[in-house]
């Protein structure tokens, strides 16, 4: 934890509205055999009057934190406190604006907003007043009798906000509320939400807690930013954001803060010295004949238990995406950083990191700091014809512990068949922070591309892919 920019002197004095104390959360895997840990020892509070952003990649457990606060889920370990008392049932202080809007399609705008009022038990006139006020504040007047399906995404999300406003929550929560909207609409709504919060007298919203994967969104809106890492979700940095509202994207402090957060996230996801991977960096084989499919490169495989140090997970990235990344890198003359890259390929930052990480594990790219550039192997890979690419790929993944183990198990298994469920169960124990089925799918996809294994979905067995000519017959 590193607290930076201690500009705002007040936070410490402010009363926490909801607190997570040493909270961990794990789910049973679908087969029920083991558990996946989503959150690990999370300490977090939302204080009165602040706009708190929880920033992290998708799948890191941000939404789970929000659901714990709302009382929609219960922690496996640790406590959720509301006003110092353990939270029982659904938290009445919260209203949530959902990523998918979560409007009832059979109710009109007005009826949907009324849902937020039910708990307040007002008479008809007071209800009408509240709804009218919320619709005015949120800019929905004239749409009272429309059904959600008749509205654009931005207008639907406004209904979500109006429904949250009439509930008069002490904390307004937003779960990726802008990420299902187009860029322009999202920008517009972000501005309005900041205004709502700043004029809390009108809207009655003093504290906001929001979950996002978007660095700009966090910097633009939040007064405090919490960065969470994934697999498992752990709080890594808490950063106060003292930039004055209304925020100007071009103000000098703004870019600096964005850069600081970017650096923090990159160093979490792509550490400069990945212990295992770096040590066994793939070396370009001098004799390319050795790379012909089915040739001696199998000789690299054997591993002993002694070398089995730490098993590293592999990101769920399709092979074609990795090749696409190399092609983009080939086109860009100079080195490019992860953020430019994610702009260029139009993927969110977290996803881009996954792709880069995959390529790095295969020895195809290198990532000093935030920069990404191709390695020699990468260049060679791009220039090579498909069979050589596959051989290189095979060579590279057989350097990965997961594939080494799988390969060894295949050899040991009677008639070289492995039961998929057994493999999934083993993955779950080896890598408790990963979704084992997802990991399994990636293993199969990579293994198929490298032509080292095959998977029969009907019998749920993994077999070796025999380098016989039959595969090529099928392709023609």
């Amino acid at each position: 934890m590193n607290e930076t920019s201690p500009i705002d002197a007040r936070p410490a004095a402010r009363e926490p509205l909801i607190e997570l104390r040493h909270v961990s959360k794990s789910w049973p895997t679908p087969d029920g055999a083991s558990r996946v840990t989503i959150l690990d020892d999370v300490d977090l509070d939302v204080r009165d009057g602040e706009m708190l952003a929880l920033l992290g990649q998708s799948g890191c457990g941000k939404s789970t934190i929000l659901r714990l606060m709302a009382g929609l889920a219960e922690p496996t370990q640790g406590a959720v406190l509301r006003g110092g008392e353990p939270l029982a049932g659904v938290n009445p202080d919260l209203a949530i604006v959902f990523q998918s809007f979560a409007l009832y399609p059979w109710l009109t705008v007005e009826e949907n907003v009324r849902v937020g009022l039910i708990q307040r038990r007002l008479d008809a006139a007071a209800e009408a007043r509240e709804i009218e006020r919320a619709l005015t504040v949120i800019g929905l007047t004239g749409y009272e009798n429309a059904y959600p399906k008749q509205l654009s995404g931005g207008m639907r999300q406004r209904v979500g906000f109006a429904r949250a406003l009439v509930a008069r929550p002490r904390i307004l929560c937003m779960d990726e509320a802008f990420s299902a909207l187009d860029v322009l609409t999202a920008e517009n709504l972000r501005n309005e939400v900041v205004e709502l919060w700043r004029n809390s007298e009108d809207a009655g919203i003093r504290s906001i807690f929001f979950v996002t994967h978007n660095i700009d969104e966090a910097v633009f809106m939040a007064s405090r930013i919490v960065i969470i890492s994934s697999h498992p979700g752990r709080i890594r940095h808490v950063i106060d954001n003292p930039l004055p509202y209304p925020r100007d994207v071009n103000a000098p402090g703004y870019a600096a803060l964005v850069a600081q957060i970017r650096a923090a996230i990159t160093s979490l996801a792509l550490p400069d010295e990945p212990a295992a991977a770096r040590a066994e960096r793939v070396v370009l084989p001098l004799d390319s004949a050795a790379l012909e499919p089915g040739s001696a490169s199998d000789a690299v495989v054997p591993t002993t238990r002694a070398t089995r140090t730490r098993v590293e997970s592999i990101p769920a990235v399709p092979v074609n995406t990795i090749v696409g990344l190399l092609e983009i890198l080939e086109d860009s003359r100079e080195t490019i950083d992860v953020f430019e890259l994610s702009d260029r390929i139009g993927k969110e930052f977290g996803e881009t990191i996954g792709v880069v990480k995959a390529a790095e594990m295969l020895g195809l790219v290198d990532t000093p700091k935030d920069d990404v550039h191709m390695t020699e192997v990468g260049w060679y890979f791009l220039a090579a014809p498909l069979p050589v690419r596959k051989a290189l790929f095979k060579h590279a993944i057989l350097k990965l512990r997961l594939f080494q183990m799988l390969s060894a198990e295949l050899d040991a298994a009677p008639d070289e068949r492995l039961d998929a469920d057994a493999v999934v169960a083993e993955l779950a124990t080896l890598l408790p922070y990963d979704q084992p089925t997802k990991l399994f799918d990636t293993l199969v996809t990579w293994g198929r591309y490298a032509e080292i294994l095959d998977y029969d979905e009907a019998t749920r067995t993994i077999t070796r892919q025999h380098p016989a000519a039959e595969d090529e017959d099928d392709d023609t």
């Binding site: 709302a70 049932g89 659904v90 809007f101 979560a102 038990r121 008809a124 749409y143 009798n145 399906k149």
Partner: protein, 591 residues
């Protein structure tokens, strides 16, 4: 002049805008009032008639006057709706509890599965004697037995559908309901009921259609060698056949078809069109179903006024009451001493245990009776008959598939034809084809077709339509790019079937085939035994056996043969259909 509100509205017109029309009370309202009054009066009169005196030794004769057909039709329709109401109530209770109580679900779902497999028609004799004992001296007992038979034909798939839509409500909609602390009642009316409305209405429609078969059968029953005829269209038909009155029989068939079409137009089409707004997809695309009846009703000022001045205050009141009750309930569960809560829960379990125990004792009693009265040889014989009927059901399914799949594909590939043919197939599936069995049996007799084979046709007549209209639906759902790809790559007819049509139609065919095969088991009870004038044709089969022991009133044989048939159905579901469903889910999903 255009009203201001119309010209400034920033979104398309919606249904709740009808208040803004300038005029008030109109002819539609007059129609609504007349319709409602006429309906009330009919129900009162018919309900009185239900309690008619009944002397078990001299059942009332049925007059074959064609002018009486409307009366008989009304009696039949009333029976259908009472049974449907009961099935709906059952659906709500059973489906709701099964969806919300994890422990209850463990028992409730398999039980439903078994109930679904029990051949209802075989039970008629048992239920009739039970209900007659309950209401001695009036026809009400028989009436109840008939209604019960229809109920059992309707309830199960509605319940399954309702349960399924409850557990597949998108999680974020559930979360929104929790965050805004909707009580149970509001959660039900605002979320659960709307989210399941479409499935509920479609399943109701199917169930109601299936119910006609049973109403026709259960109105004229012979129990303990006595013929009992409830006044109704089904018994009218039976009487007409007995007396060889072709004119009356044809009139009855026409009346049946008209009734099915009218109910479809006045009840189901409006409901389907109205339920459009409950679609979960947020996009408003595709051609929405329409109904002239709904359009008409929406013009009624009276209904609008009632909705604004009666329904809305009522819902607000119930909402507040719901919140208060919910709060009270929550406070109770939070503050009530553990002892009270524990004893309440204990009482619940006790009631359940007593119920289960009672049923178990009953089953043991029946089991003992079966063991003492049925020889092992007889039991084996019954099981053997089961395999014969299984052969018929299988052959029927294969034949109907072979005939209707290509036809269904041809129809479904022509959208305009499909739009006409699909409702027709649905009406054909609703028509209680057992009303026409006597004629077809007459043909069998004339053409010297043995009933052992002819009964396959009889089974198929009622059930093949399910395969047809499901295949039509499947053919309509094949994405056009897949068809175009097949054309571009010049797939031969056989290749196109193998690569495209069979995989794409498979899940739809499966739904149809399961329904058809399930229906065929039930139908075997009426199809394997047939009467034409004095000649009685009996096939070798479990259905015929059940029909015969039912007429004889041989209780142990009834129970055992029904159990065997239910077992056949359950095992087939587990061994064949369940696996095919898994296959369809894994391999042939179009997405």
């Amino acid at each position: 002049m255009i009203p201001r509100s119309l010209s400034t509205r920033p979104y398309p017109d919606t249904t709740s805008q009808s208040l803004e029309r300038g005029w008030r009370f109109g002819w539609v309202d007059a129609l609504v009032i007349v319709g409602v009054l006429a309906l009330l009066r009919t129900v009162v009169v018919l309900g009185g008639d239900m309690r008619a005196q009944f002397d078990a030794l001299h059942p009332p004769p049925l007059a074959l006057d064609v002018a009486l057909i409307p009366y008989y039709t009304a009696r039949t329709v009333l029976r259908m709706f009472i049974a449907f109401g009961a099935a709906l109530a059952f659906t709500f209770v059973w489906g709701y509890v099964a969806a919300h109580n994890r422990r209850a679900r463990i028992v409730m779902l398999p039980l439903l599965d078994i109930l679904q497999s029990v051949p209802v028609l075989g039970f008629l004799s048992v239920t009739v004697t039970g209900f007659i004992a309950l209401f001695p001296g009036t026809l009400l007992g028989v009436e109840c037995a008939a209604i019960f038979a229809i109920f059992t034909a309707q309830a199960w798939n509605m319940t399954f559908g309702f349960y399924h839509s409850l557990v597949t409500i998108p999680p974020e909609l559930e979360e929104a309901a929790s965050v805004y602390r909707l009580g149970r009642l509001q959660r039900f009316t605002k979320l659960e009921l709307p989210a399941s409305a479409i499935s509920l209405i479609w399943n109701s429609m199917m169930s109601f259609g299936g119910g006609w078969f049973f109403v026709a059968q259960s109105e004229a029953i012979s129990v303990l060698n006595k013929d009992i005829k409830l006044p109704g269209l089904g018994s009218y038909m039976a009487a007409a056949v007995e007396q060889g009155d072709t004119r009356a029989a044809v009139a009855a068939i026409v009346a049946m078809i008209v009734t099915i079409v009218v109910i479809d137009q006045l009840v189901w089409r409006p409901l389907v069109a109205w339920a459009e707004k409950f679609k979960l997809e947020q996009t408003g695309a595709g051609a929405a179903p329409t109904s002239w009846m709904l359009t008409l009703l929406r013009q009624s000022f009276l209904l609008q006024w009632l909705s604004d001045h009666v329904a809305q205050p009522l819902t607000r009141w119930s909402r507040h009451a719901g919140v208060m009750l919910g709060d009270a309930g929550e406070r109770f569960t939070r503050t009530a001493p553990t002892a009270v809560r524990r004893s309440l829960r204990g009482a619940g379990w006790l009631i359940l245990a007593v119920g289960v125990g009672w049923l178990a004792l009953d089953a043991v009693g029946i089991g003992r009776e079966i063991r003492t009265r049925l020889s092992a040889q007889e039991m084996l014989h019954i099981v053997g008959l089961g395999f014969l009927t299984l052969g018929r059901v299988a052959l029927m399914t294969v034949l109907a598939t072979a005939i209707w799949t290509p036809l269904g594909l041809a129809i479904g590939s022509r959208p305009r034809l499909a739009r006409i043919a699909q409702p027709l197939a649905q009406i054909a599936a609703s028509f209680p084809v057992n009303m026409t069995f006597p004629f077809i049996v007459g043909f069998f007799v004339a053409a010297r077709i043995p009933i052992d084979w002819g009964s396959i046709l009889l089974m198929a007549l009622g059930t093949q339509w399910y395969i047809l209209f499901n295949v039509i639906a499947g053919a309509m759902a094949i994405p056009s790019d897949l068809r175009e790809a097949a054309r571009v790559f010049r797939l031969s007819r056989w290749a196109a079937w193998k690569k495209l049509y069979i995989p794409a139609l498979f899940p739809f065919w499966l739904t149809g085939a399961v329904t058809a095969a399930g229906g065929a088991w039930n139908a075997s009870i009426v199809a394997e035994v047939a009467q034409w004038g004095d000649r009685k044709l009996v096939a070798d089969g479990l259905g015929a056996y059940i029909a015969q022991v039912t007429t004889r009133g041989d209780q142990p044989a009834i129970w055992f043969s029904i159990a065997v048939m239910a077992l056949f159905v359950v095992v087939l579901n587990r061994v064949v259909w369940r696996r095919l469903y898994d296959l369809a889910e894994r391999r042939f999903r179009l997405d």
